[in-house]
């Protein structure tokens, strides 16, 4: 009998320190696990619980999966203590990812905040591997401070790619930071793209998603061209346990990626 609640094992192959509170875990699942960019998995450690995370790796790579995790709670504090070679549990993937077919021929604006860049990195990998399908990728990323920036080595590399434009900002400058200072909304201006032929993808903390969305609407983006990654406490991932209700949707089943048009009238979506 197939037990949908039973995780498969995955070995921690590598751990990359991104910031003092964020690590990327490279996992090798015992069975190949293929996901679409934007879908999430349930990651667990025996005795410490289970939680939803969106992979940050390239979905084309099937034998390994990377998850970028911030140390904020019970489970994540345990995960941050893991060593290479230890075993975690994985269930999934679940939900609906980014609708890449609707991005074809478009300028794609990607707005990330903090560790919210994790799912977006997976999206970027997907876009980069078929760049001829898309017009342009514009990434705008905001972190709290220079030392909170994730994927520090990758960001400049991505910026050098053809048809890709990357700008990073920090809320508070520190040390020898010479880049932009200000919330991510401050770099959402003079965007090198055609708003009428663009889609925007936003992922980050709720407050950042709220103000970025408002800014995008100000800039002339249509509701239906904005995609948001909603986070709730998805427990089962299967649309059964009832924890992640958002209006008439379950985030685990109908999301986690939502078209803003579909959720804009739901109360308290930013809470």
């Amino acid at each position: 009998m197939e037990n949908p609640y039973q995780p498969i094992k995955a070995v921690v192959e590598d751990i990359i320190l991104e910031t003092s509170t964020i690590k990327t875990f490279v996992l090798r699942p015992e069975k190949e696990l293929s996901f679409q960019t934007g879908q999430f998995i349930e990651l667990s450690y025996p005795g410490w619980g289970e939680g939803p995370f969106t992979p940050s790796s390239d979905p084309w790579v099937k034998e390994k999966i990377e998850v970028t995790i911030m140390n904020v709670g019970r489970l994540t504090s345990k995960l941050h203590l893991l060593n290479v070679g230890e075993v975690v549990g994985i269930r999934g993937p679940y939900g609906k990812g980014y609708p890449l077919d609707r991005f074809v021929g478009k300028d794609i604006l990607i707005v990330g905040g903090g560790v919210g860049l994790a799912p977006l990195r997976s999206l970027l990998f997907s876009l980069f591997s078929e760049m001829d399908k898309y017009n342009k990728v514009v990434l705008r990323y905001g972190a709290r401070s220079p030392k909170d920036i994730v994927y520090k080595d990758s960001l400049p590399r991505w910026g050098k790619k053809e048809k890709v434009d990357v700008v990073v900002t920090v809320d508070v400058g520190e040390g020898n930071w010479k880049g932009n200072v200000g919330l991510v909304t401050t770099i959402l201006k003079d965007l090198p793209l055609e708003i009428n032929n663009a889609v925007a993808v936003v992922c980050g903390p709720p407050i950042m998603m709220k103000f970025s969305t408002l800014k995008l609407l100000d800039l002339g983006f249509k509701h239906k061209d904005i995609y948001l990654s909603m986070e709730k406490n998805m427990s089962c991932g299967l649309g059964k346990c009832g924890h992640c209700r958002l209006g008439k949707y379950y985030v685990c089943r109908d999301g986690p990626v939502f078209n803003y048009e579909n959720i804009k009238d739901i109360h308290d979506i930013w809470d």
Partner: protein, 357 residues
């Protein structure tokens, strides 16, 4: 109409012995009289019935419950706490005395656990192993309001066998293949019902509908078709805060609810190993929607109370086309704060300007 058979009271034990060969029988038993007295002084019955394992030698007197039992039917399909490691061979169970409110709720539970992304193997197995023997209601409790949800106090579908209590026995009707087979096996116990008996059943059904309608009218319940509108338009109503002030977050409304299905996946330690368990969860609990890092979209009690109503009267109609309330009134009976779903809906409807027609 499928054929109706007659089961006399003398043959009741033979019927149970027939079932006992293949099933563990659960039968309603009186447990006490904790029911709420009727505020309208109608002298409604207060006795509580509970489903108990039937052991033929131990039970001298057989009762048939005139209305629903205190426990919801869902207790046979999901448990307050259960291991989710493997589907053990579950016993085959025959439940007698299920009422139409419970049968309606089963549609909601089936939607959750059998449909969607994947069906739940634990639920499915128990569902397959259960024989449902329902019954017409011959009375109702103060808290009963099934008709307000447009659910009749007598089953018409969703059962394996249905029993309609007449004065000296039962009309018995099959509603499934499983039921059909039992009727076949017991042909010598149940003769075909006479036309008088059938018309007596109709009379009894009309009578209970009339009495229950009168009772529900006293409570001024807003019409079913307006419920989605009133919970949505009442989103910012002060009623949620007024009502939630009394809530003690016991979760009783959730756990006693026939349609509430939320659960939490967790783990328990068994020896040196951790095994997955599933626990019933309650959306009235403070941490129901809390995420790591501390954010909680249902931070306040009034938000959680409102969440319960939105789930029942907005989410489910949108997703299944049914409200997730069967009018069994268990949440009213169990609430130590006397939060009464009928009052909440009525207050919201008045505020929203919908007068009862």
């Amino acid at each position: 109409m499928p054929p109706l058979y007659y089961l006399s009271q003398e043959k009741w034990r033979s019927f149970l012995s027939l079932l006992e060969k293949d099933y563990q029988i659960y039968l309603p038993q009186i447990t006490g009289e904790k029911g709420i007295p009727c505020e309208f002084g109608k002298g409604l019955p207060k006795a509580d019935f509970k489903l108990a394992k039937y052991v033929s030698s131990k039970i001298s007197e057989l009762t048939f419950n005139p209305y629903r039992t205190i426990e919801p039917l869902k207790t046979f399909y999901t448990f307050p706490k259960e291991k989710l490691t493997s589907v053990d061979r579950e016993e085959r169970v025959a439940i007698i005395g299920i009422k139409n409110c419970d049968l309606f709720s089963l549609k909601i539970q089936d939607y959750v656990f059998l449909k969607g992304v994947v069906s739940d193997p634990f639920y499915k197995k128990r569902r397959e192993n259960t024989l449902i023997i329902s019954g017409d209601c011959s009375a109702f409790k103060e808290v009963c309001f099934c008709l307000g949800m447009e659910i009749n106090p007598f089953p018409e579908e969703g059962f394996d066998l249905n029993l309609s209590f007449l004065d000296d026995g039962f009309l018995i009707e099959s509603g499934s293949q499983k039921g059909e087979e039992i009727i076949e096996k017991g042909r010598d116990i149940f003769p075909l019902a006479s036309a008088e008996k059938i018309s007596l059943r109709e009379k009894k059904r009309e009578e209970i509908v009339r009495k229950l309608s009168e009772h529900i009218n006293l409570h001024n319940l807003p019409p079913l078709k307006t419920l989605q509108k009133i919970v949505k338009e009442g989103f910012d109503s002060p009623i949620w805060q007024e009502e939630a002030l009394r809530c003690v977050e016991c979760g009783g409304c959730n756990f006693s609810c026939d349609t509430c299905h939320c659960f939490l996946l967790s783990e328990d330690r068994f020896g040196s190993a951790h095994e997955q368990v599933r626990l019933w969860d309650a959306c009235l609990y403070a941490n129901f929607a809390k995420v790591a890092g501390g954010a909680n979209p249902l931070r306040y009690r009034y938000q959680r109370l409102r969440n319960r109503y939105l789930k029942k009267f907005d989410f489910f109609p949108e997703n299944v086309g049914l409200v997730a309330c069967c009018g069994c009134g268990r949440c009213i009976e169990v609430c130590p704060a006397k939060i009464d779903i009928r009052n909440v809906l009525r207050k919201l409807s008045i505020e929203c300007g919908i007068e009862r027609v």
